[in-house]
């Protein structure tokens, strides 16, 4: 930038350039001071947040890995046990796979139950949420009322919800009463019948979370521009085909989110089982889950090493299943 020029005698030129460089120097000092001041303040402000989370997060996780290789009972010294805990886990799975009853193979029972549970809950809550969102996306008034009603279960404590549903699922409870109209004669003792307990828990789970996901899907649907649907209309796509070819593919990111969140939640489900099936998993262990088993191992059997090993297994299961799902689903044809 060209500055105004003025003719000055020599000594005055020196004076001005001197002031200039002095100012520049001070500015640079100020800037670096400011920058390091900023850096310090930044670190200070995040310190507590980072410290707590690192400690109770990463450190704990690493400790868990470490713990899984040790035998311990909280009191005495920790004994290195190599892969012993994993061996216990493995044996349990093998026994269970070969048909051992649940008290001899609790982990296997928990695994089997939770896989069945996940297979029921995740697809159902996802599809139900999507369909309800599609209905709510029609141009109708009063959508907010439905959103609030559907979402309400999601803000209540799962334990509280289970307590209420235990009453509803009783042999002469409300649910069996309503079932009379749809399937007369079908009125199992949900809570005490080992063939139905898991399904009862699954129903509670779907009831509790599908509303939340419906709201997520609805928001995603409403962000699809209207003229894309109009273009599809003119291209000859009726409403069902518009749903299949436009809505569902464009919802893919949200579907992935809902399924992943669903998987993470269902695979480590604890609260519902604890209340509805009890800490030992109810009749015939039909309500026993992996999470219940880990809890039992850690706090009832007092074998934190084994519990840690089992939690590693659970972690891997969650990680692998969500990873596989994301990979496969992204590539799926539109």
């Amino acid at each position: 930038m060209e500055a105004a020029w003025v003719s000055r005698p020599n000594n005055k030129i020196n004076f001005f350039s001197h002031i200039n460089s002095f100012l520049k120097q001070k500015y640079n000092q100020l800037m670096t001071m400011r920058r390091s001041r900023e850096a310090l303040s930044g670190l200070l402000l995040v310190s507590i947040a980072v410290a707590f989370n690192m400690f109770f997060g990463y450190f704990a996780a690493l400790f868990a890995v470490y713990l899984s290789f040790f035998k311990w009972d909280y009191l005495g010294p920790m004994q290195f046990a190599g892969l012993y805990n994993y061996q216990v886990l493995f044996n349990d799975l093998v026994r269970g796979f070969n048909g051992a009853p649940y008290f001899l193979a609790p982990f296997f029972t928990g695994l089997r139950n939770i896989l069945l549970y996940t297979a029921i809950v995740v697809p159902t809550q996802t599809i139900l949420a999507m369909i309800l969102a599609a209905f709510a996306n029609q141009k109708i008034k009063g959508v907010q009322f439905y959103k609030v009603s559907y979402f309400l279960p999601a803000v209540t404590c799962p334990v509280i919800v289970s307590l209420i549903f235990i009453w509803l699922f009783m042999k002469y409870g409300f649910i069996n009463y309503m079932l009379q109209f749809i399937a007369p004669g079908f009125a199992p003792d949900w809570i005490n019948d080992k063939n139905y307990l898991l399904y009862a828990i699954a129903i509670v789970a779907i009831w509790g979370t599908s509303g939340h996901f419906m709201v997520s899907f609805l928001a995603a649907m409403q962000s699809i521009p209207r003229d894309i649907y109009e273009a599809a209309m003119l291209d000859g796509a009726g409403s069902i085909r518009r749903f299949i070819y436009i809505t569902v593919p464009m919802l893919k990111p949200m579907i992935i989110y809902v399924v992943v969140m669903g998987l993470i939640g269902t695979l480590q489900m604890f609260d519902l089982a604890w209340v509805m099936a009890g800490p030992s998993g109810g009749p015939g262990g039909s309500g026993y889950t992996m999470a219940l088993d880990i809890y039992k191992e850690a706090f009832i059997n007092l074998r934190p090493g084994v519990a840690a090993a089992k939690s590693m297994f659970l972690f891997s299961l969650i990680f692998i299943s969500t990873y596989i799902f994301q990979k496969k689903f992204k590539v799926m044809p539109r």
Partner: protein, 280 residues
């Protein structure tokens, strides 16, 4: 022909309302049933076919709840726990969120990514080690010990950071030019401006803390220290009342604050959850 066109539209809209309303009933009926039954005697509440009008109308269930000293303690414990969590989160998450959003310091992005990655670790991996740690600190069976774990939730930090990023840079620049150092800027500018996000954090953390179960179950040992969900499930499993209706009443009392909060704030809550889903 025009009438036919309109008729099919009307039928469709009616169908939509029908389906939506049936499901609304499905989601609401458990609450309605519980509410109604909480004023019934267990004798009436367990009748089949189910009845809807309490006769006699009785407060006996609620009285039984509060006659149990423990119950009142549980409510207070839950309130205390929720309070600590909310305050902790507001304070430290806003500080961290502001710093991650607006300040430059070494390792900023790496630290933030590391925090986000924590969300992928399932709670069951860390719960046992954390129990051991807290045990060693002598803080088991202590609400404050329990609170240590979730004092600064990563999702709160994320929310605050996103919010501060959405504020115009100019406000912070102006503060700088006015001679405000970064820490002062936090207290005079960021905190006051952060009210909407802080409100959101407060609400979500309150909900999470009030409804928490696994943490309190593991970290609290004596019944006097239980939070409400743990206490109620404890009462249920120990059959503290021979009838079930007090449990129903207790569940409603436990659910009431969250339901009321939700009904009042539903627009914001739903929007917030949807936004974080979009980012996820």
């Amino acid at each position: 022909m025009r009438i036919k066109f309109k008729l099919s539209r009307i039928l469709w809209i009616a169908f939509v309302y029908l389906v939506l309303s049936i499901f609304a009933l499905v989601y609401l009926t458990p609450f309605i049933r519980s509410f109604v039954a909480s004023f019934m005697t267990w004798e009436q509440a367990s009748r089949f076919p189910p009845e809807w009008i309490p006769s006699p109308f009785t407060f006996e269930n609620y009285l039984k709840l509060f006659r149990l000293e423990l119950f009142t303690r549980w409510i207070l414990n839950s309130a205390l726990y929720a309070g600590v969590i909310v305050v902790g989160n507001i304070l430290f998450a806003s500080m961290a969120g502001y710093a991650f959003a607006r300040l430059r310091f070494p390792g900023r992005d790496a630290l933030f990514s590391a925090l986000l990655a924590l969300l992928m670790i399932p709670v069951f991996v860390t719960i046992v080690p954390n129990y051991i740690i807290v045990y060693r600190l002598g803080l088991i069976d202590n609400i404050f010990g329990l609170a240590l774990l979730s004092l600064v939730n990563v999702s709160s930090i994320f929310l605050m950071k996103q919010y501060y990023l959405s504020l115009p840079q100019e406000v912070f620049d102006a503060a700088r030019l006015d001679g405000c150092g970064p820490i002062k800027a936090f207290f005079y500018i960021a905190l006051p401006l952060g009210k909407p996000a802080i409100g959101a954090v407060a609400v979500y953390q309150f909900l999470g803390a009030w409804n928490a179960f696994l943490g309190p179950l593991v970290f609290l040992r004596s019944p006097e220290n239980f939070t409400l969900p743990v206490g109620l499930s404890f009462a249920f499993q120990r059959s503290m009342w021979t009838e079930y209706t007090p449990i129903i009443a207790g569940s409603l009392v436990a659910a009431a604050p969250t339901i009321l909060l939700f009904i009042v704030l539903n627009k914001y809550l739903i929007r917030g959850i949807v936004i974080s889903a979009g980012k996820g």
